[in-house]
Symmetry: C2
Subunit: 215 residues, 2 copies
């Protein structure tokens, strides 16, 4: 079955819709409207209608959207309607933080294993999982049909490990290492560059003061 093409800009916004719909469900709100979403999401109502129409549009004139139905439909498109296993490479502070974050499960993700090359860490328990040695990586990926790996390792090792992971069958890299990864066609990378985000904030805060200082 082919899914309807959804534009990249809408895809970029879908997780945010999903999050707001989740909040509405938590508040036991059953129906919503483009106007209501527009108020809480800071988008125009027409933008929202246009976005949601792209994948079928469940709004009914005058009735709006069924929150749960819309939430589940977006979940299906995002491929999080069934549980996704992911693995973490690197049991340092960041790997630990991810392994312990319980918000992922709510969004269809389960951390299935965490690996580290440091023998001092293997065997220890993090977030309920035993840290496994890198020797077991390949078998684990293949036996459990793992597609997504979070890279929480220093950048010096990231390129080589990425090549290895791809060879072992990983097709999605969630990259926290401080570099950009070149990957073959068909392999997906999503990078979280924390320092860059902080530098952008620093710039914006600095501008404020510079503009205030002018004299």
């Amino acid at each position: 079955m082919t899914k309807k093409e959804v534009s990249p800009a809408v895809i970029q916004r879908l997780p945010r819709y999903y999050r707001y719909l989740e909040d509405l469900m938590d508040q036991d709100v059953e129906r919503t409207s483009s106007r209501m979403l527009s108020e809480i999401m800071n988008l125009t109502a027409s933008q929202i209608r246009q976005d949601l129409n792209q994948f079928g549009g469940f709004g009914q004139q005058g009735y709006g959207y069924n929150v749960k139905k819309l939430h589940d439909e977006i979940g299906k498109i995002l491929n999080i309607d069934k549980e996704n296993c992911l693995i973490i490479i690197g049991a340092g502070n960041l790997g630990k933080a991810l392994a312990n974050y319980d918000g992922f499960r709510k969004r269809g993700f389960r951390i299935c294993a965490i690996f580290d090359k440091d023998p001092g860490l293997t065997g220890k328990t993090i977030g309920g999982l035993e840290v496994l040695s890198m020797d077991r990586l390949e078998d684990f990926i293949k036996e459990n049909n793992i597609r997504i790996a979070a890279l929480c390792i220093p950048k010096e090792f990231a390129r080589d490990l990425t090549d290895e992971l791809i060879r072992m069958g990983i097709s999605g890299i969630w990259n926290f290492a401080h570099l950009d990864l070149d990957v073959p066609d068909g392999i997906q990378v999503e990078s979280v560059h924390l320092s860059e985000s902080l530098m952008r904030l620093s710039y914006k805060v600095g501008e404020l003061y510079h503009n205030g200082d002018e004299s």
Copy 2:
């Protein structure tokens, strides 16, 4: 002194330039060119020249750019040429991961304090810092003229705390809580929504398989 206006799109890219220039410095490369940067950064050489021209352009025809000079100039624009103190609110796993990350200092940031409302955590040491009680937040911010706070707390508390922080003098919020923050004009927010990033990756990986499955 007013700084030259730099377009938001370029600002978005500056931290990435900074990172690549840092890499070149680590490799003892002294000069670079738009062509060399274009190869490693996956941007066109003319895009790079255009970007760097926006803030003065230090390239000389045929000589290219002095890596350190360009790096330092971008650092100045990003407001990271002198040390910025930032504080972390929330000494959970993510707060811990940030406090322990030593890459920030290289980019002009120093974590000056970490706060938590849990009395079980205050007094403990994380990343060389004692976890402070929230009672001490206001004085600390004022005495040390802190501008940036990283929010590593659950979303239920984030809105109220943001209001408090702004009242105490914070003008930049680095938000890791899973919600969008409404802030007054002049206050800057940079959000890192980890789950959204993972959902985008999941979508992209899912597409791959769906397209492969078609039959």
